[in-house]
Structure formats: structure tokens, C-alpha cells
Amino acid sequence: MSVLATPVLGAEEVAAEEAAAEETVLEARGLVREYGPVVAVDEIDLGLSAGEFLTVFGPNGAGKSSLLGMLGGAMRPTRGEVLIRGEELSYADVEWRSHVGMVSHRGFLYARLTVEENLRFYGRLFGVERLDERIAERLKRVGLQNRANFQVRHLSHGMRQRVSLARALLHDPAVVLLDEPYTGLDPSAASVLRGVLAELRDGRRTVVMVTHNLKEGLELATRVAIQVAGRFAWEGVRGEVDHDNFERHYHRVVEGRA
């Protein structure tokens, strides 16, 4: 993990990275999630390598969050499997979880703990090395170094989201999952988020973002999918996406006219 944290790469590492880029990092095979009679995710297949950024659009209730939950091991698939670097994830195993980071519109934070205590707690769970430095560095990145000793409940929603972002990336995960990260953000928090997300496109990470915000979603994506009723109704790579007419395209896909 500490290797991944190094910002500047040597020649060997670049070579290793190019080799790694060939490899599929995050894979899903025939993923299904049912809630009783409701099928939230219906046979989704997926293969993403390092450096890829997939944005999944879709209306409410399309099963986007369930998909993300299964990819992140927060939710057990009804059928199908998720693999990280070719290794099948057993829901019961824990080791692989240290390679995954999830940013959600829910913060996963304890309101009565301070910012620093929250990060320290999660850092210990994830076994982050040199935790103090790492916390200081992450807080600085999201611009909250002055708020380290504030209890989370005293922070604004935007600030909480920034803490949540720092929390999710504290252990420098190779797979980053984003569940509607822009929900309810003020402009300054959104700009911090945009900056941090751009940094995630460093070629070493695989990112999946779920959103219905078309503009923010397209900005960083290398691949795009539109999920409707549990399935990918449309998939494309960055070059194929017509940015200007994407909204029209999106509505046509959602309404089943494409």
C-alpha cells in the first residue's frame, strides 16, 4: 500500500504498472441481486483494468447502488461473483477489503468523534501504516487540516463529505467506488471532490462511480454505462460518447428507445 502512496514513480515502477494495466483488476461475472421478488441487479458482467474509470448512470431504482455494494463487498450477491485481480471475493473473507475504498453520500462517520478520531479509527481497522502522517496528509488534501479536532456533528454537510472522502482514501485503495458522491455538496466541496477524483486517474486505480449527474459523471469517465432495471442498457467508451447530445441519448436509453 505504501508503494501506491508514492507520488513519483521510478522507471521500474512504470514498467510494472504498464504490465499491471493489462490485467483486469475488478471483474464481475453474472452478478445478480434480488430483494425478495424484486431484482435490483440482473446479470451484470464487468471487467475493468487499472486506470479505467467507469461511470454508471441510471434513474432511481435501477440498481446502481446495489451493483456498487456488491462490487465493494458491502452486499452479498444473490448469484454471480466479483473478482479482484482474478481472485474471487468471498464475502466472508476480509483481506481483500483493504484494496477497496467506498465514498458514499452517507458518510460512514461517527458524529460524536472528531475528524481526526474518525480517521484514526478507520486507519486502525485498515491497518494503515504511518497513520499520523497519512491522516495529516489526507486532511490537508481535502482542506480540513484546521478542523481535525472538530467533532463531525459540528461540521457542515460539505465538510463532512470531505472528511468522508479522506476516510475512504485513507488506506490508498486500488479500487475506488463512488456512490452518488456529489449529492448535496456545496460548490467548494464539489470542487475538492472533483480535484481528488481527478487525482484518482493516476493509472494505478480502478474507479467505478454511480451517479445521475450527467455532467459530473462524464467529466472523468473512460467508460460509461447506463443501467436500467438492473441491466446495462447501453455501454460505451469515452471516445464514443457524444458529450453534447449525451443527455438526449441518456433519456432515449432509459425510455427504451435506443
Binding site: 455494494g69 465493494g72 463487498g73 458491502a74 452486499m75 452479498r76 464475502y91 466472508a92 476480509v94 483481506e95 481483500w96 477489503r97 483493504s98 477497496v100 467506498m102 458514499s104 452517507r106 458518510g107 460512514f108 462517520l109 461517527y110 458524529a111 460524536r112 468523534l113 478520531e117 479509527f121 478507520y122 486502525r124 481497522l125 485498515f126 491497518g127 476516510r167
Partner: protein
């Protein structure tokens, strides 16, 4: 330190820190204990009943009802902002989460149990004598079994639409052995009988606590998965 021990410690630290900061559950359980003792005092007609004879039963009832109040809230604190979800997505084994939460809850409940013992000793004018340590042991083993079952079933009831109302229905039938052996031992110790007379009870309380902790550690993962 292994990562398992580090994670268990981190969760205990977090739970106790939160409790120290809010004093929500300790405060509620402590106030409940004292108020219950006052009510119980007036529920006894001292011309027909000697307080010493019923004190053990009342102490245990206060611990069970008061404890349920505190243990039942364990996962409500976690549910705010989905914090538990964050913990579950971390590389922490589910049994480590259970053991840590059980330990933290045990610490709280044991403090309350001793408070209950103190309050009843004071209000009912009990003379515990040298048996006070043995009683503390009995209360400790009882609290441990109670907290283990309580933590497991609090996770279940929090996940249902009935919430806390379901918790007593689920745990009371299972707590019968603990109450029987606990009250039996405590009553005799309060009456000044030697420890030897209750060591069978103490062993059963220990076995019950062991069963509850082991069952919880194994089954907790099936309760919290999504």
C-alpha cells in the same frame, strides 16, 4: 500486535470513547437502576417480607431491564450515517467486531451491575460482608452472558421494522438459565452462605456466558451481512 487484536482494540476504544463523550447509555442505565431500586423499595411490604430475601431477584431484574435499555441501543449509534457499514466494509473479521462490541458493552453493563449492587445494598440495608467479591464475580459472569446474547439480538432487532420492541421477546426466554443461576447464587451469598455452596451455579453461569459469546462470534456475520 496482530491485525485482529489491533482491530478489536480500535473498536473497543471507539465505543468507550463515544460512551465517555455522550454518557448516553451509562446515564440512562444508571438512572434506571436507581429509580428502579426506589420503586422496588415501595413494592415490598416490610411487615410480610424481609428485603434480604428478595433483594437478589430484584437486583437481577434491574440489571436485565436496565441492561436491555443500554444494549438495545448499541447499533442505533452505529446506524447514524451508516457508520457500521463503513466498519463492515473494512478488513475487520465480523467476529472481531462482535467480540469488541460485546467487550465494550460488557464494560458498561458491569459498571451498571456494580452500581445496582451498591444501590440495593444501601437502600435495602444489606450486609454483604466478605461475600462481596463472590457476588461481584457472579454479576460479572451473568453480565457477560447477557451482553453477548443482547449484542447479537440487538443487531437483529435493529434490522427489523419492530426495532427495540422485539429485543425482549427474543432474549427473555433465552435468559432464563442466567436469571435462575444468577439469582440463586446471589441470594445465597447475600444470606451469608459460603461460596462453596454456589460454585455449581457460578460454573453454569460461566458455561452460559461461554456459549453465548461463542454463538455470537460465529453467528454475528450472518446478522450484519447485507
Amino acid at each position: 500486535m496482530t491485525s485482529y487484536a489491533r482491530q478489536v482494540r480500535a473498536i473497543i476504544w471507539k465505543d468507550l470513547l463515544l460512551e465517555l463523550r455522550t454518557r448516553e447509555r451509562l446515564g440512562a442505565m444508571g438512572a434506571f437502576a436507581v429509580l428502579a431500586a426506589i420503586l422496588f423499595n415501595y413494592s415490598i411490604d416490610k411487615t410480610t417480607t424481609r428485603p434480604d430475601d428478595v433483594a437478589a431477584g430484584l437486583i437481577w431484574m434491574t440489571i436485565v431491564f436496565g441492561g436491555l435499555l443500554g444494549v438495545g441501543r448499541t447499533f442505533y449509534l452505529e446506524a447514524q450515517d451508516s457508520a457500521l457499514q463503513g466498519v463492515l466494509m473494512s478488513p475487520t473479521p465480523k467476529d472481531a467486531i462482535f467480540l469488541a462490541k460485546t467487550f465494550a458493552n460488557f464494560t458498561l453493563l458491569y459498571v451498571v451491575s456494580l452500581l445496582v449492587l451498591g444501590v440495593f445494598t444501601l437502600f435495602f440495608g444489606l450486609d454483604l460482608g466478605s461475600n462481596v467479591w463472590a457476588i461481584a464475580l457472579v454479576l460479572g459472569l451473568g453480565s457477560l452472558g447477557f451482553v453477548a446474547l443482547g449484542t447479537l439480538f440487538a443487531a437483529i432487532s435493529t434490522g427489523t421494522s419492530m426495532g427495540e420492541t422485539l429485543l425482549p421477546i427474543l432474549v427473555f426466554p433465552l435468559l432464563v438459565p442466567m436469571v435462575i443461576y444468577g439469582v440463586g447464587a446471589t441470594g445465597r451469598l447475600i444470606a451469608g452462605r459460603p461460596f462453596l455452596e454456589v460454585d455449581g451455579n457460578v460454573r453454569m453461569l460461566g458455561a452460559f456466558a461461554l456459549m453465548a459469546v461463542a454463538a455470537g462470534a460465529v453467528l454475528f456475520r450472518f446478522v450484519v451481512e447485507d
